[in-house]
Symmetry: D2
Subunit: 328 residues, 4 copies
Amino acid sequence: MFNIALLGAGRIGQIHAANIAAHQQTTLWSVVDPNQENARRVATQYQARQQSANEAMADPDVHAVLIASATDTHADLIELAASHGKAIFCEKPVHLDLARVRDCLKVVKARRVPLFIGFNRRFDPQFRRVQTEAQQGRIGKPESLLIISRDPSPPPAEYVRVSGGMFRDMTIHDFDMARFIMGEEPVAIYAQGSNLVDPAIGDAGDIDTAFIVLKYASGALATIVNSRRSAYGYDQRLELHGSSGLLCAGNMLENQVQHFSAEGCNSALPQHFFLQRYQEAYAAEWLHFVAILRGEAQPECSGEDGERALYLADKALESLRSQREIAL
Amino acid sequence: MFNIALLGAGRIGQIHAANIAAHQQTTLWSVVDPNQENARRVATQYQARQQSANEAMADPDVHAVLIASATDTHADLIELAASHGKAIFCEKPVHLDLARVRDCLKVVKARRVPLFIGFNRRFDPQFRRVQTEAQQGRIGKPESLLIISRDPSPPPAEYVRVSGGMFRDMTIHDFDMARFIMGEEPVAIYAQGSNLVDPAIGDAGDIDTAFIVLKYASGALATIVNSRRSAYGYDQRLELHGSSGLLCAGNMLENQVQHFSAEGCNSALPQHFFLQRYQEAYAAEWLHFVAILRGEAQPECSGEDGERALYLADKALESLRSQREIAL
Amino acid sequence: MFNIALLGAGRIGQIHAANIAAHQQTTLWSVVDPNQENARRVATQYQARQQSANEAMADPDVHAVLIASATDTHADLIELAASHGKAIFCEKPVHLDLARVRDCLKVVKARRVPLFIGFNRRFDPQFRRVQTEAQQGRIGKPESLLIISRDPSPPPAEYVRVSGGMFRDMTIHDFDMARFIMGEEPVAIYAQGSNLVDPAIGDAGDIDTAFIVLKYASGALATIVNSRRSAYGYDQRLELHGSSGLLCAGNMLENQVQHFSAEGCNSALPQHFFLQRYQEAYAAEWLHFVAILRGEAQPECSGEDGERALYLADKALESLRSQREIAL
Amino acid sequence: MFNIALLGAGRIGQIHAANIAAHQQTTLWSVVDPNQENARRVATQYQARQQSANEAMADPDVHAVLIASATDTHADLIELAASHGKAIFCEKPVHLDLARVRDCLKVVKARRVPLFIGFNRRFDPQFRRVQTEAQQGRIGKPESLLIISRDPSPPPAEYVRVSGGMFRDMTIHDFDMARFIMGEEPVAIYAQGSNLVDPAIGDAGDIDTAFIVLKYASGALATIVNSRRSAYGYDQRLELHGSSGLLCAGNMLENQVQHFSAEGCNSALPQHFFLQRYQEAYAAEWLHFVAILRGEAQPECSGEDGERALYLADKALESLRSQREIAL
């Protein structure tokens, strides 16, 4: 049985708490959150204790930490956990500053603790199936990848201000997905974007609509389509075109009932947002992390994967600002 | 917290064991199964004890029983549980003999214990949505219902021999579904059937392919399409045509990935069989039973519902044998 | 070049006129219709002449007649045309009275003229593909056929009164389709029906909603689902379940554009009615008839096919009235 | 009745010949093609005469010309026809050289003859519906457009060499489509491409796989996904995302029959290539051109539209070569 300290008891932390509690080999040992109300509620629900971050780190009964706290605390907490020899599951990103990420990963490396970065979409059964089937050669040689990723509604401007910008906050998932599917590193990147959804986002110096184009050494191409808002809900699709076929992972719908009337045939919306759409992915992530704890697996998403996705986000921003393709 | 004795630790019993254990207000208290190996495995997995049926019934700590044992034991166990004042969740059917069902339900009534019959499909979110939307008038007045229900592969002939025949064993789910969706009792029934899938089924005196037609007092019609075998997997669909529209609940697929190649577009098979297809339904059933235990709900599927579905199965058989429509 | 006399210049006659005129080997020679206005309009549009039926029959330049006049004139016109040695394309049915059909076919046989009965749906590319693929063994041995056939809106009660009833007027297409797909004759039939759509239809002694079940000597089953009204438009579907798979021909939509919004995904209605849905079928019928004229083909739908479909309609009515299965 | 001289009797010319002949107000007057065999076959089929280009131009009975000859003859023939006062329907492009296009359009303007450029896809009912519904505000303000356009198989390298390159030959359709759908001119363009399909295309100095990104003054974005080869057939799709919804035009399939088996559900391929996919579009184009001839319409695709699409192709090439975004 592995005892887990949960750092951050907000929306995503609660998802993880449920998965930790449901797994027969893990216990939600303690909950850490500066928001005492959040911490207390989650701790009570799963009969866990409340601790401070330092208490959790110093607690010899804690085998691993799950970091789901505010982004700007991730790197510090990772280093703290690493220095106490805890295995680490950290929500993306490690940090919004690439130099800080690199320093942090050095600490992790020095301490030789396992670090898993929670790029949840890699564990979505649909996208994983595309990746697996592509690797098995079912569509021949991959040639072009299309990722469509639109959120149902934009975050508040206050969040946008501290988010690091859309590329580092939202597109970073798609950069990781492109790396996961293509299995090779891009050699060039181009980004184009606009502020169309909410003027407050523009006022905060950010965009909310973007296309990114990636080129690979093999000649393969990828494009990412992003929007901070989608009137028809969370739009999460992926198409991989290869020399002998195409693999498409469409949206998962809220239900399969179709209603036919004089207005045509109406089908359901996509599952509402990431908590619904990636529910299976979060559970699968946790299975993977338990396998890491048991020494049976290496992190599929390492700190280096987190670093690399952030690097692409930085370069996308550079392209957007310079209006040119950036060599990588 | 309600303590549950599980009677029957086979395939379906194990599904229920997981749901009992996962619910925060129920505990898997004990497992009862003449197959000691099955009982021990499930008891160990959920840290429950093994009991005999009599021990479980006499145990004052047991608040309710879940009967998932062999069909011919259901009525006896229901009566036993009722006489000990336990709340009862029983897998369909109560018994294959209608007179025995009626006797059993008298005992339940006399003892005033809640009895829930597990017609799982009523709790499937897709079919339930059709029922709810129809009740809300979304397609006007219901006029014709089409239920397609095909198993992936036929049971062994030994099972067929003790099953009570396809109508009582398999179609009984569809009779209940028709009652659930239409919300009125049929006034006439006709059945036509054949032995096409496996000659051993015919040798056992049964059919494996059938169409059943029901007529309602309102003039509405329903038809059930059955087969014991479907080369493309578990085929579970439903269409309700009304005066102002149509509601369709199609199959749930194993995944949403489409593969396009020179051979066309290939989509996944339906979810394999009832354990997969109705996984959510089993969990929802359990939520409902807990609400019954808490006194917050009456059984949505009562003993009388079980009796009524069996009655329709008997009458379908009478129609098949007499080659005429049977008035109900 | 074959000269064709068109008998009947109404809705269906106009479809045929266009196909006759468009084909490089046929000319619309003359138009016959007691409604002079209709006759004149069609004749003018295609630069044809107007004739009376007797003139057309006596005209040695007329090689063939296309009978698209009122149902009760078909048998007389067929006999007249046969006695003048004309090749005959006749819309279904030959006549509503089976004895009259048989007499008429004797005349045709004696005169040895080709007679093609226009069961247009056999020439629909979708349904034909199902039939062809089934014949090629793509789903193994056919076991159960499901035909869904719903009109967008009911005919006026005056029409219903002279229509011969829904089975002879509407279901006759589905009887022919079942014969076409299954390739064997049924041995038993059962029909159930209601008057749900328009009370005036009931007042006219007819039904507007029906299920029909057919059984074949092979043990295979078929069911036909009918309604005189469908709020979502012309519903024309077919499913053939066999020992190794299923073939489905769904509705053809008015367009392929999908609209996603906060209300879900909206797709188009089915093509409006038979003139749209079976446009290709009407053209393909004409190609087939030209092949008959050229001596290169025998009628795929003969007078006997028309007789047989009517026989099934009669027996369905007998079943409906007697509330029993009828042996064939 | 308008008499049409068809210049070019190849694959596309034959499509137009059929449409000209089928229209009640146009006659295929003459066929011009240096390939006498082609010219004779088409002329014979439609009972037209053969002429030389000069004869056709000088023939006072010829009201209009349809130019479907080799690309490098278009501009000369347009000028010749204009100088003879003929109305002109010309297949895209006017010329591969932008300066030559501009000179040619000056001649057309001076002679005041109508010139229609055959961007057939604008007349496809699916894409046109997207455009119409978007204009009607059905998805709010357009924000991002996605055009997927893949040919079934690459042209021979000899053709590639004289084609002007993929952007001018193939993507030009997509540039026009983007202009048609968005209704505004882009202000920036970026192109990325590779040679993945056929090394001979690379040897000819061209690419066969590309992504193009367009930005509009409104901030809206568009991307075009191109490949010269698609294993699953002609892939022609379009998605327009707006502030309140999404409009998708998917592929048109060869048939609507689905085959379910142990391998899953198999659907048909897209319609084979442009002659099939855009058959309705070619017919609709011709209706439009007849309306122009009748003085009832102005060309929806003018010479300036042809010039503008070519300009975008040129700029895409400039972007590809310079690896930067190009301001327009």
